[in-house]
């Protein structure tokens, strides 16, 4: 909406025409915890970090790579493990465990030999520049209904990279805010 239209709207706004208050009273509006039947669950990519299962929206994942050669970046940020070559594109590889308080220091990874067998790089699309995230294992795609997500419990820990919690089939998925996790 252009700024002008906005100005006009504000100008013509009449409180008595506002229906917001009535909507809440209308019977067909579902405000309960039930999932609206038409809600399509979102797809998330679930992966293992330490003993916990994390998830990110599938739309933000560009691809999943095996760990290859990693070039160390001298004097880089502490959470940068190194630089990876993705078909000619040079992208940073991040460690998020330190940020999530799962580890005390980022691991030193220089080649496949330095990681466990299941470890993968999840390549994240990001407007600030795509980046790889080292994970211990990739579980697969999980569908979670957005309306059922819980916000992260306050555990007295500073874990602002956690965006919420999702539950499905007895598993707990911790949704990460990648923006925060990579910063």
């Amino acid at each position: 909406m252009s700024r002008f239209a906005e100005l006009l709207d504000r100008f013509f706004y009449r409180p008595d025409e506002d229906v917001g208050a009535f909507l809440e009273l209308a019977p067909e509006v579902d405000t309960g915890p039930e999932v609206a039947p038409e809600e399509v669950p979102e797809e998330f990519l679930a992966f293992q970090l330490g003993d916990e299962t994390y998830a990110v929206p599938i739309a933000t994942v560009r691809e999943i790579l095996k760990v290859g050669d990693v070039t160390e970046v001298p004097r880089g940020a502490p959470n940068v493990i190194g630089l990876i070559n993705v078909r000619g594109e040079m992208l940073p590889l991040y460690d998020v465990k330190v940020r999530l308080k799962l580890a005390d220091a980022a691991p030193v990874v220089r080649s496949r030999a330095d990681v466990a067998r299941g470890a993968r790089i999840v390549l994240i699309r990001d407007p600030e520049g795509d980046a790889g995230v080292l994970v211990d294992r990739v579980h697969g795609v999980v569908k979670l209904a957005l309306s059922r997500l819980e916000s992260a419990p306050n555990l007295g820990l500073e874990r602002d990279a956690v965006a919420g919690l999702g539950r499905k089939d007895g598993n707990l998925y911790i949704l990460i805010d990648l923006e925060q996790a990579l910063s």
Binding site: D69, T71, V73, P74, I84, L91, D126, G129, A131
Partner: protein, 707 residues
Amino acid sequence: MAPPRALDEFVTEANEILESLAKDLFVLDQERGREPDPERLNAIFRAAHSLKGLSAMFGVDRVSRLAHRAEDVLDALRLGRVPLDDRLVDTLIETLDMLQALLARVSQGTHAPDLEVGADHLQERLAQLARGQADAGVDLLDQVGIDPQMRSVFTEYEEHRLRENVKKGVGLWKVRAVYSLADFDQQLAALNARLKPLGEVVSTLPSSQPGDESSIAFDLVFGSSRARGEIEAVLDGATLSPLTSRPAPTEVTPRPGPALVFDSSSSNAPRPATKWDDVSGSGVALPEPTSASGLRLSPDTSLRSLTQTVRVDIGRLDALMNSIGELLLIRSNINRLAEAARQVGTGVALPKLWGQELQREARALERKLDELQKGVLDVRMVPLGQVFDKLTRLMRRLVRESGKDVDFEVSGGDVELDKLIVEELSDPLMHLLRNSLDHGIEPPEVRRLHHKPQRGKIRLKARQQGNQVLIEVGDDGGGMDETRIRQVAVQRGLATEEQTREMSRRDLLNLVFLPGFSTRADVSELSGRGVGLDVVKTNLARLSGLIDIDSRRGDGTTFTLTLPLTLAIIRALMVGVSGRTYAVPLSSVMEIVSIRHADLRTVERREVFEVRGQTLPFVRLARVFKLAEAQRERSFVVLIGLAQQRIGLAVDELLGQEDIVTKPLGGRLRAIPGVSGATELGDRRAVLVLDVGALMEELTRPAAAAG
């Protein structure tokens, strides 16, 4: 307005038109007073015509309207209806500058309210010129030159009143008032009331240049015999400009119209002709050379092109196509060989012939890839003339303003360089040329005193030498004063008196490139340079270029810039440090020596070593990068030099040279100090490319106790 992509195309194309227009106008400018070549006039006319059509097609009215007016004038000129006089040429050049400025705004996607008035004024002048002098004076109103756009909205009565005012010989003014939507009626009434005693408000029109969303703008046509100052006193925020563009010169300030807009920028008054410079994108915005505040004040002040496009000769593309065709051929050969090998089966030795054939194909592949690489590089090459032409135009103007008598010689415009480098070069070159003009060339009296020809000379020369291009900026002025340099350097604490005495002349001259050397006003007393040269140096260092000075007292100064042909693919020295591999651009490697650690000395607790009598800092790359250091007796020392500095970078191993393509690090890693990018080697591992410039800067800074 057109979508961004289409707009890009527009800017590219309009820019090309403007460039050819500029070239032709430049010739016209040089041949002032002579009969113009009809072909040239036609070409200029056509350029204006295409620009008009193009901008109208893309909905860029501003440009289109101005181009239209210019076309009118040129048409009249072409048909011999108006004579080609100085005023016309000047106006056309001004129009060109204005068109360039407008285009620059279009490409930035910003509006140009500040340019509008100037553009309007110019349009009006062009319109007059098109009408020619002969029929001027048919109508009194035509004679005073009121914007036809404005005139078209006057009622008969208003026109009558205007005519009456003109007859009385009263000054006609346009008062532009911008008032908030909330209370414009009261404000306007108040303004009318204040103006009334001074003259006659002929008409109040909604302005053709609207204000922003929350305000409304009016143009008041006002006739008054009072002086400008008197009227301005009652305006209270509204702006005053002459309505007529051709009244008797005594009535109006010397620079009507745009004067209001540019007052702030042209406050360094003695150069009245610079009024467009600050907005025309021609780069002269460095107000006074002594400010040395940096070459890039804003994108507006640069000579850089507006677009990232490279025009390519179709022949070069054909060559690329050919290379690719041949590569496809090699691919099918290799496929055939692979198929043959597969059919032989496992465990069976392949025939010798097969191996030979494979080797032959591999060699052919290599050759073709080289060709392809060269071809792609060729496509990126543009003649330096692109920048030289702009500099020439600028210099002519600057020379005219300086009042000095100077010949400007340009040669080597056909030398080609990577587009990227050519773009980056324009600002440093401009700065050096300006310096030559302002400080190099002496005033005529001084020159006469020294028995030099009164006409000074400034040269801009380029030539290719192997994989490098040398560009010289020289003058036959007074040269640099060593004694002064020595004094200043000592004063600023850049060197001790002792040091300066031991320095060679060349080292001494190079002191002017040090950052702290030039920042103060009294530097201009130094009969020469030292003004913002550190910025020039930094800019060049970014291009892996070197700069050198040769200056002889009394004979002049020459700056020589040495640049690599291309930045896209560079040769690099691969070095190993604590098991890691790094690439050092070969263009900044001076030499490699082997140094025994026992021979190291320390100066102020920093390690130094000696090469042929010169003491240089010894920097262990492993320490800089905080890597584990292996104990060893000897190190290879890569002597790196950029612009004027040299340091020795100690590494463990030398791994040979490679042609590398430097790729930028992903957006998130941009700020890794000392690393300019990464490249992939044969084994697909990413290898970091050292940013020699940044490393040097970091390591030679006093605070960096790296050793």
